[in-house]
């Protein structure tokens, strides 16, 4: 089969599977968050936690619950990682205090940036009871925020946007856990390991020695992709044959990491009672996501090499995985992004810089897209001189301020963080190379952290106190500042009365709106990041 044909078939296969599950999965998620009934296990959880599941919260309480839960999660995970050396099932592995803080922040913010290597930094206990738990919970928090923001749009004249504890619990119990159980078993059948055997040394065929790793890998791998987390059990992540043994598991993992985020526009349409809104959002995500995938695959087939890529996947499936992982907030890798061609590496960067909304992380993609829709409606309103409205809600001064602030947080963190670090010797000492490629390395680290992606140009020696702390700060602010602004926005939108649609209302479900939305997303990213991309990947490609 010619290379271009198999590459085209590969992309078509991924898109077709996602299209097939879009409606059932999106509908299921909608039912999860609108059902008035609680499952028995959920009632037990609410009773033990001490919350009333039938009382909804104002935006302030919702935000306080979310922030409390995240702070408690970070402190608990940090403590667990530091205490690891004293705990059983840890294979004698340990982490520095600063590495542990970076890791705790990283997993709670759904970033899963790893400045440690799985084989030496984390034993089975913290992988399963610490990191994998946050793989579920950070994804469920993302879903909760997305649903709360949509409730603000869908409701009127109420100050209630839902109950954080209920949204979190349902996301775990009804969506992520069932999918992860099925996914983990599927991965085991396809060859991913799942055991509790300590690593052991064998005498190889030719008389040498080799360490064979063990661990509960499949159970972690499934949620790592489904929750768009991306933190590898092993240093090589999804390039490691024990995490991703074949072309089939590679396809499964790509579908897992895109599945929930690409189904959420359907949920959005159902929640606001207008499926056309969801369809327009899905098409926007598809244009950006598939466009990036095709572009990256073409670039890598033309300029890429097999350096840092696995034979069982090849160039095309490495590019597809890379595009999927940077278009979501996953950050898992099945190939070394730093060894992509300069333009290919630049496209991976650009994909994250779009704001991870094609289709984005679990929940985060949906609320990032709503931010861009608010901005687009506002710009369109300015152009034609009408009051901007979205689904009958006025986008006034306060609303647009909240949306615009949440939009600038990530670029500010990325560009200031990378810019300052590039002139500090304490940071540049971590770079594996100089010149444009070195700049790309640092830019990639801050883009990945601020966007909560977690993939890396892994030549960077990131396990230093400076980078651990600065990148942890970028991850924290990149996650929680937009979340708080959007929960506030949800509160304001929910209080408004819906205005009736008139002849002057700009529809937000049409092809022209989709075109405008795509243009706004691309122009905002281009204006923000073009200079930095020109100094890094573009300069390297031209040299």
């Amino acid at each position: 089969m010619p290379l271009w044909l198999s590459a085209a078939l590969s992309i078509v296969t991924v898109v077709a599977i996602l299209a097939a599950i879009h409606v059932p999965l999106g509908g299921w998620i909608h039912r999860v968050y609108t059902s008035p009934k609680h499952l028995r296990i959920e009632r037990a959880i609410y009773r033990l936690v001490g919350v009333d599941p039938d009382t909804e919260q104002r935006w302030q309480t919702y935000a306080i619950s979310l922030v409390s839960f995240s702070i408690v999660s970070i402190l608990a995970l940090w403590g667990l990682l530091v205490a690891q050396r004293l705990l059983p099932w840890s294979q004698g592995r340990s982490m520095h205090v600063d590495t542990a803080l970076n890791t705790a922040v990283s997993f709670v913010t759904n970033t899963n940036w790893q400045s440690y290597a799985g084989e030496s930094g984390t034993g089975y206990l913290v992988q399963a009871a610490g990191l994998a738990v946050q793989n579920f919970l950070s994804a469920a928090v993302g879903l909760a925020v997305a649903v709360a923001v949509v409730r603000g749009l869908a409701r009127e004249r109420t100050d209630r946007i839902g109950n954080f504890w209920v949204d979190l619990t349902r996301g775990v119990i009804r969506i992520l856990l069932p999918l992860a159980v099925v996914g983990a078993i599927l991965l085991v059948v396809c060859g991913v390991i799942q055991n509790v055997t300590d690593p052991y040394t064998v005498t190889t065929i030719t008389g040498g020695t080799q360490v064979i790793q063990g661990g509960p890998v499949a159970s972690q791998e499934a949620i790592k992709e489904l929750g768009t987390n991306g933190g590898g059990f092993f240093n090589a992540n999804s390039a490691h044959p024990f995490e991703n043994p074949s072309g089939l598991t590679n396809l499964i993992e790509i579908v897992f990491l895109l599945a929930i985020a690409s189904a959420l526009p359907r949920t959005y349409g159902l929640l606001v009672g207008d499926r056309r809104q969801g369809r327009a959002m899905a098409i926007t995500m598809a244009i950006l996501g598939v466009g990036a995938m095709v572009l990256l695959t073409v670039v890598e087939l033309h300029w890429g090499t097999m350096e840092g890529k696995e034979q069982r996947f090849g160039v095309a499936w490495s590019a597809i995985f890379g595009s999927a992982t940077t278009g979501t907030s996953t950050g898992a890798v099945n190939s070394l992004h730093e060894s992509f061609s300069p333009l290919g590496g630049g496209l991976l960067l650009l994909n994250m810089m779009l704001g991870e909304l094609s289709p984005g992380g679990v929940g985060t993609g949906l609320y990032s897209m709503i931010t861009m829709i608010v901005i687009t409606v506002f710009l369109a309103g300015l152009m034609v001189g009408r009051t901007p409205e979205l689904l009958g809600k006025t986008i006034g001064r306060q609303e647009i301020t909240l949306a615009a602030l949440s939009l600038v947080v990530t670029p500010a963190l990325t560009l200031l963080g990378a810019g300052i670090s590039l002139v500090l010797p304490v940071a540049t000492a971590s770079m594996s190379t100089s010149g444009p490629h070195g700049l790309s390395e640092m830019l990639y680290a801050f883009t990945s952290a601020a966007n909560n992606n977690g993939s890396a140009f892994a030549g960077l020696s990131a396990d230093t106190p400076y980078l651990n702390l600065v990148l942890a700060t970028a991850m924290l602010l990149g996650r929680f500042v937009p979340i708080l602004l959007l929960v506030r926005l949800a509160g304001r939108l929910g209080e408004q009365q819906r205005r009736p649609e008139t002849a002057g209302t700009m529809p937000t479900h049409t092809a022209s709106f989709v075109g405008l939305l795509v243009a706004v997303i691309l122009i905002v990213a281009a204006l923000t990041y073009f200079p930095s991309l020109a100094l890094g990947p573009v300069a390297e490609a031209l040299s």
Binding site: I64, V133, S219, F242, N250, G308, Q311, S339, S432, T433
Partner: protein, 188 residues
Amino acid sequence: MLRQSLAAVRLLLLMTVLLGVAYPAVITLVARLDAPAADGSLVTVDGHVVGSALLGQAAAGPEWFQPRPSVSDYAGDTSGGSNLSPNSQAQADARAKREADLKAANPDAVGPIPEDALTASASGLEPYISVAYATWQIPRVAAARGVDRSVLERLVADCTDHALLGYIGQDGVNVTRLNAALAGLPKG
């Protein structure tokens, strides 16, 4: 804030029991139904475990098929690759050295050196090489072992895993299984 924090602590504990203990325990138990896969698809020679079919192994000597270059030399307790830019001088030097070494070790090889022989894998543990690279090595292995090339061609074909439907992944020859099969051949 305090009330919310107490709820947060309690929920985190409950979720840790459910997601961090019960979930992996159940999956580990269910995985026993397919123990060979869950334990890492181990390969045995003469009854001894000699490695995993999913992991490449260092195999020095002309009588063995060579896996792809590995930055960690297939150690198993570290994984990862070079992270070199394909445009960098370091990468150009590494390629040139691999090319020279392969040419010296394979005087009878036919055709250009396949790309996967000149580039390090991402994991450093890749068990597969391209069919072209396996075929390219046959003259050397046949000469070193004194076996007929057709025997090796058959073994290579036996150890080739084809891409699902012809395009999901790539065809590859599993070098670990191939060398295990060579180890089982009667000594020539």
